[in-house]
């Protein structure tokens, strides 16, 4: 098989190494697909439009008749979008009501929804709102499953059959409306994630993470006599005071011979007295460290990434809420190599490209944990999301890393969102993880969740339950 030249030589080496060990045709195909992927990992941007294109781009789907109203048409009063804050106030009450429904024997009605508010320049905001729907008997107009949508009206020039506009199926650069693909300032992201977490714990009653170690409290103020003050105070620090006195007297020349100290000749200045005074200090120790690992290789394009990112948003939000932002999170992205990114925003928005080596991510986590000696102070949780493809098809590198990790980690949760490329086969990661027997050996420490690419939100949450319970 010939390989073209514009491929990353490092990757090529890797590929050849794997090839030498023997690959099935399917593995070869997936690897090659990723190898030739020319994508990069930049965050999304919206510059992808060809402005000179002859065909005009229609960004929004056309309005139907009933979407028009006098307020926006005549008085330019926009449809009022109430702020999220005003909604969250009543959320407790709503969820309480929802719980009641169940007791009364009716299905729950409140759902946690994510709205993507399209913004200028692609800066969509993601807002989380409680939603519901009033069910009625209504006609389903979308039942015709042909490639055409319901026709709309139009006006102006154009022959019959002529194409007059285009709308990308996926928004440019794969930044769709799906979870994890929208754009938001990091801050915006954070605050709504916090609210989502609140809703999640209330609604789904996710089990809490286990407490570990003595440092239970995550944040507290400790009042301690640690600040030093000269001249007056609550508690005389004798050692420090003596040192100070010595210092003073040395400079006064009252200590001629270091071997025979005659303290009776010492002068003591009022300033030499060092006192301890009360100080308020924040005890800022986190008890948990959560590693988010995401496969951002080429095969993750589209749905698998959306699912993984959506699930990680949910976990992240929930942690933010439950642990009042005191859980430390680390974010690691990997293709054939792993790298740590500074914040959730980058983690969330980086595009997919490149090949896949799951081991690299686990190795990086192991390195970080070792180097920073995290085991001593932290509960360590690792959540990994992938589509299950791995160039290292039998996990020769990955399994040892996982084993190493299980020694210290409180829980390792692996989510596989199938990409549908090898529809009927189980993915490599699933295969070798199962084959390793670790799942049965340490069911408490390692969890694996496999979902189809059409998984919906309830499925994601179920997945989280499985990973965390």
């Amino acid at each position: 098989m010939k390989i073209e030249f514009n491929v990353n030589p490092e990757l090529l080496k890797l590929y050849n190494a794997f090839k030498a060990k023997g690959l099935t045709p399917r593995q070869k195909q997936t690897i090659l697909l990723e190898l030739h992927d020319t994508g990069t990992h930049d965050a999304h941007d919206m510059s992808g439009y060809d402005k000179d294109a002859k065909i005009e781009m229609v960004f929004r789907p056309p309005h139907n008749l009933y979407e028009h109203d006098d307020f926006s048409a005549l008085q330019a009063i926009p449809r009022f979008q109430s702020t999220y804050v005003s909604r969250i106030r009543s959320i407790d009450e709503l969820l309480e009501r929802d719980k009641r429904r169940e007791k009364d024997g009716f299905p729950r009605k409140i759902r946690v929804g994510r709205l993507v508010k399209p913004g200028k320049g692609g800066k969509d905001k993601i807002v989380i709102v409680p939603t519901t729907v009033e069910e009625k008997f209504i006609h389903d107009t979308s039942f015709k499953s042909s490639g055409e949508d319901a026709p709309s009206g139009g006006s102006g020039e154009g022959e019959e059959g002529e194409v007059i506009g285009e709308q990308p199926v996926r928004a440019p650069d794969g930044s769709g409306t799906g979870p994890g693909e929208g754009q938001g300032g990091p801050h915006e992201m954070e605050s709504s994630a916090y609210d989502l977490g609140k809703i999640l714990t209330e609604q789904f009653e996710l089990p809490n993470l286990k407490d570990k170690g003595k440092k239970r409290s995550l944040t507290r103020y400790t009042y301690d006599l640690t600040d030093r003050n000269r001249g007056f105070g609550q508690f005389l620090d004798k050692k420090a005071t003596l040192r100070k006195i010595l210092e003073t007297n040395i400079s006064l020349g009252l200590l001629p011979d270091i071997d025979r100290i005659d303290s009776t000749r010492f002068l003591i200045s009022p300033d030499d007295k060092i006192y301890r005074i009360l100080s308020r200090e924040m005890d800022y120790e986190s008890q948990a460290m959560v590693f988010f690992l995401r496969d951002y290789s080429g095969s993750m394009a589209g749905k698998p990434t959306q699912l993984i990112v959506a699930q990680h948003v949910l976990i992240y939000s929930w942690l933010l809420y439950q642990y009042a932002r005191q859980v430390e999170s680390r974010f690691i992205l990997h293709d054939t190599e792993a790298s740590e990114v500074p914040d959730f925003y980058t983690y969330y928005n980086s595009k997919v490209a490149g090949g896949t080596k799951v081991a690299s991510a686990f190795r990086l986590v192991n390195d970080i944990v070792e180097k920073e000696n995290l085991v001593k102070d932290y509960n360590i949780y690792v959540f990994h999301g992938t589509d299950g493809d791995d160039w290292d098809a039998d996990g020769k590198e990955t399994i040892p890393e996982i084993k190493k990790m299980l020694v210290y980690a409180n829980r390792v949760g692996i989510t596989i969102a199938e990409n549908g490329l090898g529809a009927t086969q189980t993915s490599e990661v699933e295969k070798y993880t199962k084959a390793s027997g670790l799942l049965d050996e340490k069911p408490d420490l390692l969890r694996l969740d496999v979902m189809k690419q059409d998984a919906d939100e309830p499925r994601l949450i179920e997945g989280i339950k499985h990973l965390i319970s």
Binding site: V58, A73, I110, T132
Partner: protein, 550 residues
């Protein structure tokens, strides 16, 4: 909310004067309020009726994507509401000239509310007052019964789109235009059609025979006519006798039927539920005409605001600003539908055609294109004609009668199709058809149309309520069926069945994915798939839903 100031009110009164002069008719009193964003936040979930009853769903964002307008007959952002007096809402910083334009728009809406026959049932009372007393009833019940009130509201709202709006209108608009003979009416309207189920040709023959009788025998026509009828149908007199003694049966919609016949609702301790059902039904029926006259109502208002604004002597010098705003409101979108633009153009077109006398037999007999084009009898009846249209039609009739090829051609209208281009991964919008009939059909398809579901009395057995969904080549949204039926079961107190049609899911060839990870399977050139239908029967019993094919 506060009223507009005296200065602005004076402008409004000036507008009323001018609007009356051109023939718009509306009651003297109107109320205009300034609204802030905060007010809108409160008002929009309540469909701009400040006194509408409270319901928790109003506090939640309602999921919008799935046929929102099919679920709600009212626009939550109406500037003017159909009350007595009519209430309208304004931004507090509109300049005077803009207010003039909006006032004309609003006045035309009020004219429409108060003259279009589809609003007939709302003419005799003030809805805000009614709603206030309903709100108090519900608040009082809620204090007594707690959350159960909300369940009843929820379940009755689940079926409020099946409320018999047209039946209500029929009751009100029932005209007694018979020539006095009950026997004649019964023979032609009921006996021949429902009892004997005669063919159309025979029916026409009978009419002809009657007309013969009239021309031959004059006053004795009826007698002669029926002499023959009785020889043909000896039982006729007996059937007529029976029908006159029987009370005319009123057709009931689902909510009415439940109130009348549900054992649960008629238990003493549950009687309160009926008032909730009544409130929900009344509210739904009040809003129904709004959504059924969207194109006409907005078209009518736009037609008049443009016409009256340009004639108004008070605001000279703002023509350019007006033109900008007006174009924004009434320009035809390249793709999509705008009821303002479409309705306004259609009204103008109808006026012109009527002015030329083209809605006449003479014109319809012409075949020569040139002659048709030149045809003009200068009737001067255009204005009267459109006033008639605004009085008597709803959107369906408006579109169905008047969207014709000349109109479509003049405004360069077309049906815009949307298809997937798999090579470029884009949705393509294209000109699908410029034929009037296609355009008309597209419009009709996009109009509000709730499913036609009736109670099948013949199949109501053993305390089971049997609902029949009449087939109109559209299935119901399947994920809503369970909860809707759950609600009906609760209100009915026994098993509920729904007969409806569904598409037989044919195994679609699971094509290969076009791109890794993308969800759109590669497809051969789009061929219209053959849709096969089957009747299915849903049964909701003890809060469990089951389905079987029949």
């Amino acid at each position: 909310m506060e009223l507009i100031d005296q200065h602005t009110k004076k402008i409004m009164e000036g507008c009323k004067e001018r609007a009356r002069k051109v023939g718009l008719r509306f009651e003297d009193e109107t109320l205009e309020y300034i609204v802030t964003n905060r007010d809108l936040l409160e008002l929009s979930p309540k469909l701009m009726i400040p006194t509408l009853y409270d319901y928790w769903v109003h506090d939640v964002d309602v999921i919008k994507e799935k046929g929102r307008y099919e679920l709600y007959p009212a626009n939550p952002y109406e500037t003017v509401i159909n009350t007595r007096p009519a209430i309208s809402f304004y931004n507090d910083n509109n300049p005077d000239w803009l207010n003039v334009m909006i006032f004309y728009h609003v006045l035309a809406h009020i004219d429409f509310f108060q003259n279009n026959l589809f609003f007939r049932h709302s003419w005799d009372y003030d809805f805000t007052g009614q709603a206030l007393s309903d709100k108090r009833i519900i608040a009082k019940l809620r204090a007594e019964k707690g959350r159960w009130v909300d369940y009843v509201i929820e379940f009755s709202r689940g079926i409020d789109n099946l409320a018999g709006f047209h039946e209500e209108l029929t009751r009100l608009n029932c005209m007694n235009i018979t020539n006095g003979s009950k026997r004649m009416d019964f023979y032609f309207d009921v006996f021949l059609q429902s009892e004997k189920k005669v063919k159309t040709s025979e029916y026409l023959k009978e009419i002809e025979r009657y007309n013969d009788c009239v021309s031959k025998f004059g006053d004795l026509a009826e007698q002669t006519f029926f002499a023959e009828v009785i020889t043909k149908y000896p039982e006729f007199e007996a059937v007529l006798e029976k029908s006159t003694t029987q009370k005319p049966k009123q057709k009931m919609d689902l909510i009415q039927f439940l109130m009348e016949n549900s054992e649960v609702l008629n238990k003493d301790e549950n009687k309160w539920m009926k008032s909730v059902l009544q409130v929900v039904r009344k509210t739904s029926i009040f809003f129904q005409p709004q959504i059924r006259t969207k194109i006409m109502n907005e078209g009518w208002a736009s037609y008049w605001h443009e016409k009256l604004f340009l004639q108004d002597d008070r605001i000279k010098g703002h023509e350019v600003e007006f033109a900008r705003i007006n174009a924004g409101v009434t320009s035809m979108p390249r793709v999509g539908l705008n009821p303002y633009a479409l309705g306004m153009r259609l009204f103008s077109y109808i006026e012109e055609i009527a002015d030329k006398g083209k809605y006449s037999i003479d014109f319809k007999r012409l075949h020569d294109a040139e002659e048709r084009d030149q045809f003009d009898t200068h009737t001067g009846q255009g204005q009267d004609f459109i006033f008639n249209v605004r009085e008597n039609l709803c959107d369906f009739m408006f579109v169905n009668n008047f969207v014709e090829q000349d109109f479509v051609t003049r405004h360069k209208l077309f049906v815009a199709g949307k298809r997937l281009n798999t090579a470029k991964m884009v949705w393509e919008y294209y000109v699908k058809s410029r034929k009037a009939e296609d355009y008309r059909q597209m419009l009709i398809d996009s109009l509000y149309h709730p499913p036609h579901i009736e109670i099948d009395m013949g199949k109501n057995t053993n305390n089971t309520l049997y609902l029949m969904h009449h087939f109109e080549e559209k299935p119901l949204v399947s994920e809503f069926i369970a909860n809707t039926m759950l609600g009906i079961e609760y209100l009915w107190g026994g098993p509920v069945q729904l007969e409806t049609s569904e598409i037989i899911s044919t195994p679609t060839s699971q094509g290969q994915n076009a791109l890794p990870g993308s969800l759109i399977p590669m497809k051969a050139e789009d061929t219209e798939p053959d849709v096969k239908w089957q009747r299915v029967l849903y049964t909701m019993e003890k809060r469990k839903l089951s389905k079987k094919t029949i």
